[in-house]
């Protein structure tokens, strides 16, 4: 199982994208602050509320507007956001996946302010982790042996729910990482690793082989339904982010009893990272309030209020471990010691433009299992979008 970190690791990233700060607009008479996200349900909404409580305690006179648009992975919220940003009505801060989704979509196009000063002013520059390099991954062989045993005993070896195709892309990025290792995996996104390399081919062949072991109704169910298959014993394994752990927790399934976790086959020692984050758009009305919001998010208190409830882990390395469960503690250890690589399916590795193309290719691959065609299409997509 893969883990994720939530929140503002992007602050460090944004230093390299210094944009001259415009004269901040004077806020209007109203003392408001609007945040925009797709956290509308379950642990996510609870986590958001926990962090809003802290903000309101620190800034009781601010009228906080919590604008949410429902839809997994922010698919619907992003359309609303794009319209607002282009129309010159940016929310004071909004949720976005850190990495290329933030950089390519919003920073390069000059919609965002740099915010590293918030970390500097609070003396928090050393509170976020640096990449640590460790060991190389193992092969997929064991996975297929185990899968064969499950299949011959009438249990679906691997559950998948890809009504939202990102779930398949999520599985694929883990399989690719298993074959390429972190360095070549990272090379896929800057053009230094070819998508027609033997490693990627091997990974795509593994992926095609895996599709024989997934539930037949995968295209009719969601990723949460797929997690439920594992909890009910209908399926044995599931490759998912740590929101699946949050889902199991919210359903009251005991860790190490009903379910257990390991890194996705062949990816031990690597940590595929995605991070939800909030930024500071240009030309907003309530700059000061938004800055306070970002400060709460980056604070230890804010991180420890949000993440335990959402089921994710803090972006800071000094989170209070007693607040987090066993799974999260292990994920925090991995986050500190593993090689961290960006997630493709969740916008950290590639631009949204590139990702939508890859999702289209995966949609075909999952059904047709034509590896040659997929390699050809992935290569031409990379030629168009990889930043050399």
């Amino acid at each position: 199982m893969k883990k994720l970190v939530v929140l503002p690791i992007l602050f460090a990233l944004m230093i390299s994208f210094q944009i001259s700060a415009n004269g901040a607009q004077e806020s209007e008479a109203k003392n408001e602050m609007e945040i925009f996200s797709w956290w509308t349900a379950g642990g996510e909404a609870e986590g958001l509320n926990a962090i809003i409580d802290i903000y309101q305690a620190q800034n009781p006179d601010v009228d906080l507007i919590n604008a949410t648009v429902a839809g997994g992975a922010g698919t619907n919220a992003k359309a609303v956001l794009a319209t607002r940003m282009q129309g010159g009505d940016p929310p004071d801060s909004f949720q976005v996946h850190a990495g290329h989704e933030l950089i390519d979509t919003w920073v390069v196009s000059d919609f965002m302010e740099p915010i590293s000063y918030i970390l500097k002013d609070n003396g928090w520059m050393d509170k976020f982790p640096k990449d640590v390099i460790l060991e190389a991954p193992r092969t997929m062989e064991e996975f297929f042996n185990v899968a064969e045993v499950f299949a011959s005993n009438g249990v679906t070896p691997l559950s998948l729910g890809d009504t939202g195709i990102w779930a398949s892309t999520h599985l694929l990025e883990n399989v690719i990482l298993a074959s390429t290792g972190p360095e070549k995996y990272n090379g896929l996104w800057d053009g230094s690793t070819s998508w027609d390399s033997p490693e990627v081919r091997e990974a795509l062949n593994n992926f095609a082989k895996m599709m024989k072991y997934v539930n037949a109704d995968h295209s009719a169910i969601s990723n949460m339904d797929a997690a439920q298959y594992v909890a009910e014993g209908k399926a044995a394994m599931n490759v998912m982010g740590d929101w699946a752990a949050g889902y199991f927790m919210s359903k009251g399934y005991d860790q190490k009893v009903v379910w257990d976790w390991v890194p996705s086959p062949g990816t031990e020692g690597n940590f595929i990272m995605l991070s939800d984050s909030f930024g500071l758009p240009k030309d907003i009305k309530n700059v000061e309030n938004a800055e306070k919001w970002l400060t709460v998010l980056a604070s230890k208190e804010g991180q420890d209020a949000f993440n335990p409830v959402k089921g994710s882990i803090p972006a800071r390395i000094d989170g209070d471990r007693s607040l987090y469960n066993e799974y999260q503690n292990e994920a925090m250890d991995d986050f500190n010691t593993n090689v961290i690589v960006p997630s493709l399916a969740h916008g950290a590795a590639a631009s949204e433009a590139w990702l939508t193309r890859i999702n289209d290719i995966v949609t075909i691959l999952v059904t047709k299992l034509d590896v040659d065609k997929a390699v050809e299409d992935l290569t031409s997509a990379a030629e168009k979008y990889a930043q050399k």
């Binding site: 698919t75 992003k78 359309a79 794009a82 940003m85 282009q86 390519d104 979509t105 919003w106 390069v108 196009s109 000059d110 919609f111 009504t163 939202g164 195709i165 037949a216 109704d217 995968h218 295209s219 009719a220 169910i221 949204e352 433009a353 990702l355 939508t356 193309r357 289209d360 949609t363 075909i364 999952v366 059904t367 047709k368």
Partner: protein
């Protein structure tokens, strides 16, 4: 009635605001979309460099778009045919002065009151391969009966069988509409006509073929136009019910346009898709409008 010059002026003044709104918000934005579709706008920041038809050429080379066009073609034909057929069938039965006519009319009309999103969610679960209608078959003892429904990836001559599920849901919703239209048409046929045909010894089938169908032909045509433009623009039903489906078996240009524009930020390409959709609908609507205007003149 004779219009004076003053009346005309007044009339013109009254319709000016709505004309302005229509011109700006409909035709203005169509023109704008068309302009965007010829540009190089790829990303959040607009870029109006002219690339002419490049976006369209790319689009027609795109596998997904080719599938979409085929899906639209088949869906439109099957949707119209099944709505017209079942709508006529129901209207014909109800017109037989059966008991509880009002009740049945309401039952068949009712789905029309739902939004496509509700219909989509409903049928998504009914046709779910594990928990839907399939489990009903299994409960009845047909253990081997299991349909893939909208997850079926088989196709024949470009027709994806998964589309049948969507056609089923869409027909369920819209056959009440065609029924209502046909019912009105049937009521307009003079009883004497049918009675004299019966006296002449015409059978039921002959009456349908020689009297009823010719007299409701204009209704069939307008039903086809209305259903046709719904099916060419279909989005909400598919979005709520199946999404693009495995290997795009249930993908349509509307979905592709939404994802291209608002997820991939390929604004120019998204505009090109919507212009192509507009042209498809125009092929259906314009000849119809032309013929109606001609009749009025």
């Amino acid at each position: 009635m004779i219009f004076t010059k003053k009346d005309r002026k007044k009339a013109l003044l009254m319709v000016t605001p709505s004309i302005l709104v229509v011109v700006v918000f409909i035709y203005g934005f169509i023109a704008w979309s068309f302009r965007v579709s010829l540009s190089a706008w790829d990303g959040i920041k607009s870029d109006f460099t002219l690339v002419w038809l490049d976006n369209y050429i790319e689009l027609f080379k795109n596998t997904r778009f080719q599938i979409d066009l085929l899906n639209t073609f088949f869906f439109t034909i099957f949707f119209i045919v099944s709505c017209v057929f079942f709508g006529f069938f129901l209207a014909y039965l109800i017109n037989k002065n059966i008991k509880g006519e009002g009740f049945f009319r309401t039952v068949y009309m009712f789905p029309l009151a739902l939004s496509f999103v509700v219909t989509g969610v409903l049928w998504r679960w009914m046709l779910n391969p594990t928990v839907g209608i399939n489990s009903l078959f299994q409960m009845m003892g047909f253990e081997n009966v299991s349909f893939g429904w909208y997850t079926n990836t088989d196709s024949m001559g470009g027709f994806n069988f998964a589309l049948l599920s969507i056609i089923l849901a869409a027909t369920w919703q819209y056959m009440g509409y065609t029924m209502a239209m046909f019912l009105a048409g049937l009521r307009g046929i003079p009883v004497q006509l049918i009675e004299s045909a019966q006296i002449e010894g015409a059978g039921e089938f002959t009456i349908i073929k020689a009297i009823i169908i010719p007299s409701i032909k204009p209704i069939i045509l307008s039903a086809m136009i209305v259903l046709g433009h719904i099916s060419l623009k279909i989005f909400d039903l598919v979005y709520a019910m199946t999404g693009s489906g495995p290997a795009f078996v249930t993908d349509f240009p509307g979905l592709f346009m939404f994802e291209t524009t608002f997820r991939g930020n390929h604004y120019a390409e998204g505009a090109a898709i919507s212009i192509i959709m507009l042209i498809m609908v125009a092929f259906v609507i314009v000849p119809y409008l032309y013929s109606t205007f001609k009749k009025e003149d």
